[in-house]
C-alpha cells in the first residue's frame, strides 16, 4: 500500500505543473483554433531567459519570474500579431506550418547560443523533501510547482470570467463575426490571448527549469505532455486541464514505478489513447 502512495502523491503534485504547461496550449487551441507547435519551445525559451537573468544579474531564480513573465507575454503577443495573424482564417495548414517553423528556428537558436549542455535553475530546493512517513516524502519542488500551477489557473479563470478582455476572448472563440460586431478587434484579442498563453508557458518554463534539467530541444517533449493534457481535458476547461494534468502525471509515474522508467511516457500515452477511444471530446470537453 505504501508502495503506491508515493507515486500517487508525486503524480498529483506533478499534475499541477503539467496543467500549467498545458493551459496555454489548450486555450489557444480552443480560441484561435491553432495547434501551436512552438508552445514547448517558447516554454523552454523562458527557462533560458530565466537562466540568463540568474547568471548575468546574479539574482535568485524566484525573482526571475518578474522579468520573464512580461517578456514572455510580449513574445507571445508579437508571435501572434506579426506571424500567425497574417496566415489565419483561410485554411488550417498555414498557421501550423508557421508554428512548426518557429519551433525549429527556436530549437536551433537555443542550441547555437546555449550549446547542447544540460541546464538547470538552481534553487537549493532540489533535494529538499517534507518527511511525512518513512515511505512518503513530499518533494518541496513538486509541491511548489503544484501550488503555483493552482494559483495561475485560478487567476486565469478569474481573468476569463470577469474581465472585458477575457470575455472578449471567449466570445471570439464562440463566434468571431459576432464578436467583431460587438466592437471587438479580434486580431488584437488573439494577440493578447497568445500573450497570456506564452506567459503561462513562461511560468511553466521557470518551474520546469527549477525542477528538472533542460536542453535546447526539451521543448518538444513538453509539447507532447501539453498536448496530452489538453486532449484528456477537452478544450476550454480550466478545471478539466488541472484534473487532466494530474491524470497524465499519475499515469506516467505509475508506469515508471511499476514497469520501470522506460514505461513512463508510454503509460501516459496509453491513458491518452483510452480517453480518445472512450471520450473523444475529452473528459470535460465542450468543443
Amino acid at each position: 500500500m505504501e508502495d503506491i502512495l508515493q507515486p500517487i502523491v508525486n503524480g498529483i503534485l506533478l499534475g499541477g505543473l503539467y496543467a500549467i504547461i498545458a493551459i496555454g496550449l489548450s486555450t489557444i487551441m480552443g480560441i484561435v483554433k491553432v495547434m501551436n507547435f512552438a508552445h514547448g519551445d517558447l516554454m523552454i525559451l523562458s527557462s533560458y531567459l530565466s537562466l540568463v537573468f540568474i547568471t548575468r544579474l546574479g539574482v535568485n531564480p524566484f525573482l526571475t519570474f518578474f522579468g520573464v513573465i512580461p517578456l514572455a507575454y510580449g513574445i507571445g503577443y508579437f508571435y501572434q500579431r506579426s506571424l500567425l495573424n497574417r496566415v489565419l482564417g483561410k485554411e488550417m495548414d498555414p498557421p501550423l506550418i508557421v508554428a512548426f517553423g518557429v519551433s525549429i528556428i527556436l530549437q536551433n537558436l537555443l542550441l547555437l547560443v546555449f550549446t547542447p549542455d544540460a541546464q538547470t535553475l538552481m534553487t537549493g530546493l532540489g533535494l529538499k523533501t517534507i518527511h511525512i512517513t518513512d515511505d512518503l516524502k513530499i518533494p518541496v519542488n513538486y509541491l511548489l510547482d503544484f501550488l503555483i500551477g493552482l494559483v495561475v489557473i485560478f487567476f486565469l479563470y478569474l481573468f476569463f470570467q470577469k474581465s472585458y478582455l477575457g470575455r472578449a476572448i471567449r466570445a471570439a472563440s464562440d463566434d468571431e463575426i459576432a464578436a467583431k460586431l460587438m466592437g471587438v478587434n479580434t486580431k488584437n484579442v488573439y494577440a493578447h490571448a497568445m500573450g497570456i498563453s506564452i506567459m503561462t508557458a513562461g511560468i511553466a518554463g521557470i518551474l520546469v527549469g527549477m525542477t528538472f534539467t533542460f536542453y535546447p530541444h526539451t521543448g518538444s517533449q513538453y509539447l507532447f505532455i501539453a498536448f496530452g493534457v489538453a486532449i484528456i481535458a477537452g478544450l476550454g476547461s480550466m478545471k478539466g486541464t488541472f484534473v487532466a494534468g494530474i491524470i497524465l502525471a499519475v499515469a506516467q509515474l505509475f508506469g515508471g514505478h511499476f514497469l520501470g522508467p522506460g514505461y513512463q511516457m508510454i503509460s501516459g500515452h496509453m491513458v491518452l489513447l483510452i480517453v480518445l477511444l472512450v471520450k473523444p471530446k475529452g473528459i470535460f470537453g465542450t468543443v
Binding site: 472585458y164 470575455r167 472578449a168 464578436a179 467583431k180 460586431l181 460587438m182 471587438v184 478587434n185
Partner: protein, 238 residues
C-alpha cells in the same frame, strides 16, 4: 455634409471574391426613421448590412454615417461611432451567459461607463432576459435569443441599429411582440434599418423602403406610395 441623414450609402459595389454581390447600391436613412430593405434570398440584403457595419469593404462607392465616411472602416470602429448590428441568425454567444452576452454588447470603451444604465433599459424592454440572466445563451428559445440579440446590439448605446432578418424562424405572435419593441426603441430616437424577406411586416413598420433584386435597388419609396403589384414584381423579378 448631408444634414439629418443618419446613413447615406452611395453607389457601392461589393464583391465576394469574383462574385459581384452589390451593384451601385444607394440607400439612405434619415435620423430617427425606420427604413426597410426588402428582397428575396440572395438579393444582397445581408451583404449590404455587412458592408455598412464594416465586416466587408466596398470596392467602390461611399458610406457616410452622420456625415462621416465609414466605408472600409473595421467593425470595431463603426461600433465605436454608434452603429450596431443585430446579425442574421442572431449569433448569440452560446457558451456565454445571457448577462455576459449583453455585457459583450458594451465592449466598446465609450459604452463601458454606461453599462449598468443600458442594462436597466434593456431589462425594462425585455424582462425575460433578466430572469434568464445566468443561463447560457444557447439554452434560450428562438424568440428569447432574438430579444437577446436586439438587447446586445442596444448595449453599445447606438444611434443606428441594423437588423438582419429578425423575424426569421419565429412564431407570428413572437414576431409581433418583437416589432412592437422595435417601435419603442425607434421612439427613443434610434434609427433602424430593417432587412426582411417578409414584405408586409416590414413595409408596415417602415417609413421608407428599398427593394433589392440581384444586388441592385430596383424600387424604392414610402410604403404608401408603393403598390403591391409593383413590389411583388420587383421582389421576384418577373
Amino acid at each position: 455634409m448631408s444634414k439629418g441623414l443618419a446613413l447615406k450609402v452611395t453607389g457601392i459595389d461589393v464583391y465576394y471574391k469574383d462574385f459581384h454581390a452589390l451593384w451601385k447600391v444607394s440607400v439612405e436613412a434619415k435620423e430617427g426613421e425606420i427604413v426597410s430593405v426588402i428582397g428575396a434570398n440572395g438579393a444582397g440584403k445581408s451583404t449590404l448590412l455587412s458592408t455598412v457595419s464594416g465586416i466587408l469593404a466596398p470596392a467602390a462607392g461611399t458610406i457616410e454615417f452622420f456625415g462621416e465616411r465609414i466605408d472600409g472602416l473595421p467593425p470595431h470602429d463603426t461600433v465605436a461611432r454608434g452603429l450596431s448590428m443585430v446579425p442574421e441568425g442572431r449569433r448569440i454567444f452560446p457558451r456565454l451567459t445571457v448577462y455576459e452576452n449583453l455585457v459583450m454588447g458594451s465592449y466598446s470603451p465609450r459604452s463601458r461607463a454606461k453599462r449598468n444604465e443600458a442594462l436597466a433599459k434593456i431589462f425594462d424592454l425585455f424582462p425575460v432576459l433578466k430572469a434568464r440572466g445566468e443561463q447560457m445563451g444557447n439554452t434560450l428559445s428562438g424568440g428569447e435569443q432574438q430579444m437577446l440579440a436586439i438587447g446586445r446590439a442596444l448595449m453599445s448605446g447606438p444611434k443606428l441599429i441594423l437588423c438582419d432578418e429578425i423575424s426569421l424562424g419565429l412564431a407570428p405572435l413572437i414576431i409581433k411582440g418583437i416589432y412592437r419593441e422595435l417601435r419603442r426603441i425607434n421612439e427613443q430616437g434610434i434609427t433602424i434599418v430593417l432587412v426582411e424577406q417578409d414584405i408586409k411586416r416590414s413595409l408596415k413598420a417602415a417609413g421608407y423602403a428599398y427593394i433589392l433584386l440581384q444586388g441592385k435597388v430596383v424600387l424604392e419609396g414610402t410604403p404608401s406610395s408603393l403598390n403591391e403589384e409593383e413590389v411583388r414584381k420587383a421582389y421576384f423579378g418577373v
